[in-house]
C-alpha cells in the first residue's frame, strides 16, 4: 500500500511540475522593458491594423523601454471581471457606453487629456462622450478614436438604370431615395410591387432589423426623443427618460410603414444576420449596418462575383468598386407619414434625420502598473499618422478633424454629422444598459404589426395614441429597471 501511495503522489507531483514548465506571466517585465497589453477589436486585428500599430509603436519606443503587445483576449472581454485579478489588458479599445460603464465603477482611469496631441483637433462632442461627473468634478476617462453610426450599404451595380431620370428630381446627381425617407419608401414599394418571383421574396428595398434601437434610432431621435435628460449642471439624469418625448410616436408610425415593405425578418435579428449575403445576392437593395462591418460586406460581395466567374482578385476589386457606404437619408417627414409623395412636400414638411451613434476610443485600465507608459501608447495611437492608417485600413470615420478633413467624402460627412448634432451619442452612464431590452421589445412588436394585419388579425398600433401609450410604457419600464432595485 505504501508503494501505491508513493506512486500516486509521484504522478501528481510530476504533473504539477510539468504544469509549471512554460508558465509565465505575460505582464512581467523583461529586464527594464515595460510590456503593455493592448486590447483592440477583432476587425483591427483581422485587417492587420493592430500589427501595424504595435510595430510602429515598438519601433518608436524601443529605446525608451516600452513594448506594446496584443492582449490576445476576446474583444468584449469584461474588464470588471478580469481586471481586479490582474488578467485584464492595460489599454482597452471600446465604445463610449461600455468604457464609461467601466469608468462609473472605477475600472478605468481618468486621463489628463489636454496633454494629448489629439486634444485640440478632436471635437468637444467626442470628448463629452467620455466625461463623467463624480462629486461635482468632471473627469475624462477615454480618448476618442472614431465615430460609429448606422450607415446605409448598397451596391452601385444594383442602382435602377433610370435613377437619374426618374429618381433624381432635383438633378443633384444623388438619388432621391438616398436623400429622403419618403422616396426610399417609394422605391422600396416599387421593388416589392414588381417582385415577380414565385415566393415574392427576391427583391426588397430598404432593409433593417427594426427591433434594434441603435440601428433604427432615427425613428425616435429625429422626432425629439432622447434617452436621458440633463441635470442643471449638465450631467445626465437617469430618472428623466425621454424615449416618448416630442413626436416619437410619429416616428414609430413611420417605422411601422417601413416594416410593411420588408419581411418578418425585421421583427428580430434575422435581417442583421443575413445582411451580408442578401446584399451580395441582390435580394436587398440597401441595408443598415455600421462602418466596421464594411470588410464583411466586401468579403461576401467578392464571393458572389467569384461565383459569377471572376477571379478572386477581380472579384475583390469589383466588390470595392460597387459597395457603397453612405449616411442614412437626411430627411424624414415631420408628420411621420412615409407614404406621402415627396413631390407634394415643402421644406417645412421635413425634419432632419438624427441617428443614434457612438464614439469608440481608448481607455486605460485602473489595474495597470504603467499608467504613464499607457498614456504614451494612447498618445501614439491617436496621432495623425496612426489614425490616418486606421482610417485607410479599416474604413472608420475618425474623430480627429484634421484626418477627416484630409480624407473628405463619407468620413468627413460623418465627422460633420457629429459636430452638427445629427448623431445622438449613446449616453455614457451605466443606466444605459437598461434601455435596450424594453425598447427592443416594443420596436419589434411595432414592426410585427403589418404582419398581424396581413394575417387578418387586429393591429396593436393603429393610431398615434396607441403608439404614444406604448412608448410611454417603455419609459416607465426603463425607469423601473434602473431604480427598483437601486435602493
Amino acid at each position: 500500500m505504501g508503494k501505491l501511495k508513493k506512486m500516486a503522489v509521484g504522478v501528481l507531483c510530476a504533473s504539477m511540475l510539468l504544469g509549471c514548465v512554460g508558465c509565465g506571466d505575460s505582464k512581467e517585465t523583461a529586464g527594464e522593458t515595460i510590456v503593455l497589453r493592448i486590447l483592440e477589436n477583432d476587425t483591427a486585428k483581422k485587417e492587420g491594423y493592430l500589427d501595424a500599430l504595435l510595430e510602429a509603436f515598438n519601433a518608436e519606443y524601443k529605446d525608451k523601454g516600452i513594448q506594446a503587445v496584443d492582449a490576445n483576449m476576446d474583444e468584449y472581454t469584461d474588464l470588471a471581471a478580469n481586471g481586479p485579478y490582474g488578467y485584464g489588458p492595460d489599454v482597452i479599445y471600446q465604445a463610449n457606453d461600455k468604457l464609461m460603464t467601466y469608468a462609473e465603477d472605477k475600472h478605468i482611469l481618468p486621463i489628463d487629456v489636454e496633454s494629448l496631441d489629439c486634444y485640440s483637433v478632436t471635437p468637444e462632442a467626442a470628448w463629452e462622450a467620455f466625461k463623467i461627473n463624480i462629486d461635482g468634478t468632471t473627469y475624462t476617462c477615454g480618448i476618442p478614436v472614431n465615430i460609429q453610426e448606422p450607415m446605409l450599404f448598397y451596391r452601385l451595380d444594383m442602382m435602377p438604370e433610370d435613377w437619374e431620370s426618374n429618381w433624381d428630381k432635383d438633378g443633384n446627381k444623388v438619388a432621391d431615395f438616398f436623400e429622403n425617407w419618403n422616396d426610399l419608401y417609394a422605391y422600396s414599394k416599387y421593388l416589392r410591387d414588381t417582385d415577380t418571383s414565385a415566393n415574392g421574396d427576391s427583391q426588397y428595398g430598404f432593409m433593417s432589423s427594426l427591433n434594434n434601437l441603435y440601428l433604427n434610432g432615427e425613428f425616435l431621435f429625429s422626432y425629439g426623443a432622447y434617452v436621458f435628460g440633463s441635470n442643471d449642471d449638465g450631467t445626465l439624469n437617469a430618472a428623466d427618460i425621454g424615449l416618448s418625448a416630442g413626436d416619437a410616436a410619429k416616428g414609430l408610425m413611420a417605422m411601422k410603414q417601413m416594416a410593411s415593405l420588408m419581411n418578418e425578418g425585421c421583427i428580430d435579428d434575422t435581417i442583421i444576420m443575413k445582411r451580408y449575403e442578401k446584399l451580395a445576392d441582390g435580394s436587398y437593395f440597401c441595408v443598415v449596418s455600421t462602418p466596421d462591418t464594411y470588410s464583411l460586406f466586401i468579403e461576401k460581395l467578392a464571393l458572389a462575383y467569384e461565383a459569377e466567374g471572376l477571379s478572386a482578385k477581380e472579384a475583390e476589386e469589383k466588390a470595392k468598386e460597387n459597395l457603397m457606404m453612405i449616411e442614412l437619408p437626411g430627411k424624414l417627414p415631420a408628420d411621420g407619414d412615409l407614404t406621402k409623395s415627396s413631390d407634394a412636400m415643402t421644406e417645412d414638411d421635413w425634419i432632419d434625420t438624427v441617428v443614434m451613434g457612438g464614439v469608440n476610443g481608448y481607455g486605460i485600465s485602473s489595474y495597470t502598473k504603467y499608467k504613464d507608459a499607457c498614456m504614451e501608447f494612447v498618445n501614439f495611437a491617436t496621432s495623425y499618422e496612426m489614425i490616418q492608417t486606421r482610417m485607410n485600413t479599416l474604413g472608420i470615420a475618425p474623430t480627429r478633424s484634421d484626418v477627416a478633413e484630409a480624407s473628405g467624402g463619407v468620413t468627413d460627412m460623418i465627422f460633420e454629422s457629429l459636430s452638427e448634432g445629427r448623431i445622438y451619442l449613446m449616453p455614457s452612464i451605466k443606466a444605459v444598459d437598461q434601455i435596450w431590452v424594453p425598447a427592443q421589445s416594443l420596436m419589434g412588436d411595432i414592426a410585427k404589426d403589418p404582419y398581424r394585419e396581413a394575417a387578418g388579425e387586429l393591429g396593436k398600433y393603429v393610431t398615434i395614441g396607441q403608439l404614444e401609450e406604448a412608448i410611454e410604457k417603455v419609459d416607465q419600464d426603463i425607469y423601473d429597471a434602473i431604480f427598483t432595485l437601486k435602493d
Binding site: M16, K45, N72, Y276, L303
Partner: protein, 273 residues
Amino acid sequence: MSKKIDSVVTHMILIAVCLVFVFPILWLVLASFSKSGSIYDIDGFFPSEFSFNSYHKLFVDTAMYDYPNWLQNTLYVAFFSSLIGTVLVILTAYTISRFTFKSRKMLMKSTLVLSMFPSFMGMTAVYLMMVNFGLINQLWSLILIYAAGAPMGYLVQKGYFDTISNTIYEAARIDGASNFTIFVKVTLPLAKPMLVYTALTQFAWPWSDFILPNLLLKNKDLWTVAVGLTHLGETEFTRFAAGAVFIAVPIVALYFALSRFLVVGVSQGAVKE
C-alpha cells in the same frame, strides 16, 4: 401476419427515430462542406455548392482563429486529465471495493449525493480559488479540476471490481503478494476493459467541455476548441461546422477502435455477481 406487421411498424419507428438523431449530424457535416461561409447562403436544407474551403481555412487561416492551437490545447488538457483522472478513479474504486474501513458507507453515500449536484454550481468558488492559486490562464488548472473531480464517478469501476472473485485475491495473498502487488499484477490485468472505459470517459469530458475553459482561460492562445468555436465571427458558420466535425473525429475513432473494451467495461461494471 400480426408478427410481420409488428416488425414493420417497429422498424419504421426505429428508422424515424434514427433519422431524427442522424439528420442534425448529417446537416452539420454537409454544412461544413458548404462553399460559402455563412448559414444564410444555404437555401433549403442543404448547401448547393460544396468545397473543402472551410477545412482549409480552419488549418491555414489562423491569424484570428487559431484552430490548430486550440486543438493542441484541447488534446493536452484531455490527455493529462484522462491520465491522472483514470489513476484516481481506479484507485478510488478499488479501495472502496476491496477494503472495509471506518466511514466507508458514509463516504459512498456522500459521494453519491455530491455527484448529483451539477458541476457548474461551484464555478464561482472554483474561479476564486484558481485566482488565489494564480492558476487562471493555465491549462494545468483545467487538468487539476477535471482530475480532482473524476473520482466522484467511481461507481461503475467499483461495480466492476466487485465482480472479480474474492478467491483470486485470497490465492494471491496466500502466495505472499502485498496489496500493491495484488493491485498491479492481479487486478489491473483483469480490469483492462474497465481501464479503457475509464480512460475514454475521462478523455471525452475535457475534450468537449466549454464552461470551465471559458471561465479560466482568458488568453486566446490558450483557448480549447469548444471555447474558440463559440468566438467565431457571425459570418463563419461553416468554419464552425467544420471545426465541430473535426473535433468529433478523434473521439469517434477512439470509440470505434476501443468499442470492444468499452462494451465489456460498461456491461460488467453494471452487474454485481
